[in-house]
Amino acid sequence: MAWKTKQSATIEIDKRSEPYLTQQMQDRFTEELLPRYETKHASLIPILHEIQDEYRCIPYQAMIEIATFLELKPADVLDTASFYEEFSIEKLGKYVIGVCQSVACEICGHQAILDHVRKKLDLEPHETTDDGKFTLLTLECLGSCDTAPVALVNDELHENLTIEKLDQIMENLPD
C-alpha cells in the first residue's frame, strides 16, 4: 500500500555494534553507484535494494547509516523506504511467496493458489512463519498475465500455476 503513513520519527530503535552498511559496500557504492546520478539522494533506491536483499529488511539503524553515507536526514531515508512495497522494515522470510491477485490472475484462478499456500503454511498475507522460512504476500500484476495465475518466489517467477506445481516448487526449496 503506497500511501501507508510513516512511522513516528521518535521511536526507540534496536542497535548493534556492527554496521549494516559495511565499508566494502560503501567503497563499492562510491565507485560504482554515486557517479551515475546528479545527486547523492538518487543512489538511495539502489542502496535500499542491496540492504533489503542482504538482510531481508531495512533496519532503522541501516537507515541512519545510509543517511550519514548519503548526507541525508534519516527521515529522508525512512520517507523513501516506507513508500515502496519491496522494502520492509520487518524482517521477511527466507522465501517470499508473492501471489499475483490482479484481475487477469483472479479470473484465471488465483484464489485456489492463494488459499492453498495460506492453508499449507497457516499464514495470512503479509505474515511470516515462526521459523522465518516463509512470508506470504499478495502482489499486484506481475506483468505475466498470459501465463496466469502466477507467483513470485523471491526473484523467480512461476507461471501457469496449479496446486500440484506449487507444492513441488515449495518442496524443492532448501531449508
Binding site: 503506497a2 500511501w3 546528479e38 539522494h41 515502496y84 484481475v103 498475465c145
Partner: protein, 449 residues
C-alpha cells in the same frame, strides 16, 4: 497494406510467423549479424533535427498508454545549453493486464537500447536511465547484460555514440524501481530515480523543460523507442502503410502494435498486429478463440485504467480512437484481457478498485479516499449487502475523481473513474441484481418534533 512480416518481433519468434518455443535472448553478436545497430548508424548520418523531423512525420504515437505523438513531445525540449539532458525509459509496466514491453526486454533488449541511442542522438540527450519495475528480476539481468555489451562495443560511453562515429556521448544506466505502480506515471518515475517517494509532480513545468534533477528530460515507453529502429531504417511511408487512418477525423494510428492477450482465450500471449485490428479478429485468428467455446462477455482493452468493452463491442477496432468510438478512456497499452460469459463483473470491478486503492500514492484526497471508498462499496455489493443507493454513490464518487474532472494531480484517479463507470454502465443489470432497493425516502425530518 497490413503487417506482412514481424517488425518489432523480427528476432522474437511470434505466431503466425514463428514458434514462441524458439525464443531466446538475442546477444549483441546475433543482433548485429541480423542488421542490428544499422538504424543507429543511419541516424548518425543525419542531423539530429532531421531525425526528429522523420519521427514527427512518421506520426509515431507513444505506446505507453496515452498515444501522445512522439516527435511532437521531442520538440518541447529547449535548445541545448551545455547542461545535462536526460532520457528516462519507462519500463514500469505495472498496469494490470499489460505485458508487452516484457517481451522485448526478455528476448531482444538491444532493439530497445538501439532506440535509446537514436532518441538520445535526435534529442541531444547525454544520460539515459532505463527505468524498470522491481518485480522484473530476470529482465533486469538481461537488460544489464545488454547494456554491458553495448558499452563493450562502443554504443554508449565517453568515446561517443557507435564507437565515436558521433561526438555525442551517451551514458546508459539501469534503475530498478521497488514495487509501486505509481512510478509508471512519468513524474512519479522521475521522483523514484531521484531517490524519493514516487509522488507525481504537478505540471507544468513539464518534464521536457524541467524534469529529472530539474533538467530537460524526455520520457518514452519501451515499445515507442524500439519502434524508432524500423522507422529510421525503412522510412515514414513504410511505417504509415501499417495500421489505420482515423475514422473520426482524428490523427492516424499508424504502424504495428504489440498486443498482449490474456484472460479467457485459448492461446494467450503477445501478438504483433496492425493498429485498428478488430478485437474479434485478434481473439479468433490469433489468440485461438474464447476458451471452452464460451461466449464473449467483455474485455479490458489495454490495462484496467481504460475501462471495459461490453458484450456488444466484440468488434471494437483497436486503434487510438477506441476511447471515443467505444466509450472508454482510451486504447491504453492495447493488451486486452478477455472475459467469457461466466465472468462476474462485480468481482472484476472490485478487483480493479482494490488495485487502485492499494496503489494510490495518497497525495490527492479524492484519489486516496475515493479509490478505497469505491472498493469498499463494491465489496459490499459483491457480498450482497449493497443497496441501490450504493450504486448511485459509487458512480458519483468515481465520476468526481481524476485530472479530467480537475480534482487530482495524475491520471491514476481517472483510471479508477473510468473502470468503475464503464463496468457499471455497461453491465448495469448485473449490479442491480446484486443490490437491495434502498428504502424510499418519505417526508419525515429526523429530529423534528
Amino acid at each position: 497494406m497490413p503487417v506482412t512480416e514481424p517488425v518489432l518481433c523480427k528476432r522474437i519468434p511470434t505466431a503466425p510467423w514463428g514458434d514462441p518455443k524458439d525464443r531466446h535472448v538475442v546477444s549483441y553478436d546475433e543482433y548485429v549479424k541480423t542488421g542490428g545497430y544499422e538504424s543507429l548508424e543511419k541516424a548518425l548520418s543525419m542531423k539530429p533535427a532531421e531525425v526528429v523531423d522523420l519521427v514527427k512525420e512518421s506520426q509515431l504515437r507513444g505506446r505507453g498508454g496515452a498515444g501522445f505523438p512522439c516527435g511532437l513531445k521531442w520538440t518541447f525540449l529547449p535548445e541545448p545549453d551545455g547542461g545535462r539532458r536526460y532520457l528516462a525509459l519507462n519500463c514500469d509496466e505495472a498496469e494490470p493486464c499489460t505485458f508487452k514491453d516484457r517481451l522485448l526486454i526478455d528476448f531482444d533488449p538491444h532493439l530497445v537500447l538501439e532506440g535509446v541511442a537514436i532518441a538520445c542522438y535526435a534529442c541531444q540527450l547525454d544520460t539515459a536511465y532505463f527505468f524498470i519495475r522491481g518485480e522484473y528480476h530476470k529482465q533486469a539481468k538481461v537488460v544489464q547484460n545488454a547494456i554491458d555489451e553495448a558499452y563493450a562495443h562502443g554504443i554508449f560511453g565517453k568515446q561517443g555514440l557507435l564507437k565515436g562515429k558521433s561526438k555525442q556521448a551517451v551514458e546508459c544506466y539501469l534503475h530498478r524501481s521497488a514495487g509501486a505502480y505509481i512510478c509508471g506515471e512519468e513524474t512519479g518515475m522521475l521522483e523514484c530515480i531521484e531517490g524519493k517517494r514516487g509522488w507525481p509532480r504537478i505540471k507544468p513545468p513539464f518534464p521536457a523543460v524541467q524534469g529529472l534533477f530539474g533538467r530537460p528530460t524526455i520520457i518514452n515507453n519501451v515499445e515507442t523507442l524500439a519502434a524508432l529502429c524500423p522507422i529510421v531504417k525503412k522510412g515514414k511511408d513504410w511505417w504509415a502503410s501499417m495500421g489505420c487512418e482515423s475514422s473520426i477525423g482524428a490523427p492516424p494510428s499508424y504502424g504495428p502494435k504489440l498486443m498482449g492477450v490474456s484472460g479467457h482465450v485459448n492461446k494467450p500471449g503477445v501478438y504483433e498486429v496492425d493498429l485498428g485490428i478488430k478485437l474479434s479478429t485478434l481473439i479468433n485468428d490469433f489468440a485461438g478463440g474464447i476458451r471452452g467455446g464460451k461466449k464473449f462477455k467483455g474485455a479490458i482493452p489495454g490495462g484496467v485504467s481504460m475501462g471495459v468493452l461490453g458484450p456488444d463491442q466484440f468488434d471494437a477496432e483497436m486503434d487510438f480512437d477506441i476511447g471515443r468510438t467505444n466509450q472508454l478512456l482510451g486504447l491504453g497499452t492495447a493488451c486486452p484481457t478477455i472475459f467469457d460469459e461466466d465472468t462476474d463483473m462485480v468481482a472484476v470491478a472490485r478487483n480493479i478498485c482494490r488495485f487502485f486503492a492499494n496503489e494510490s500514492c495518497g497525495q490527492c484526497t479524492p484519489c486516496r479516499e475515493g479509490t478505497s471508498w469505491t472498493y469498499k462499496i463494491l465489496c459490499r455489493i459483491e457480498q450482497g449487502n449493497g443497496t441501490s443507493k450504493d450504486l448511485d454513490m459509487l458512480l458519483e464518487i468515481a465520476g468526481s475523481m481524476g485530472i479530467v474532472s480537475g480534482t487530482t494531480i495524475c491520471g491514476l484517479a481517472d483510471g479508477n473513474n473510468w473502470a468503475v463507470r464503464t463496468i457499471v454502465n455497461k453491465f448495469r443489470s448485473e449490479f442491480e441484481a446484486r443490490v437491495r432497493p434502498s428504502l424510499v425516502a418519505v417526508g419525515v425530518t429526523v429530529g423534528a418534533s
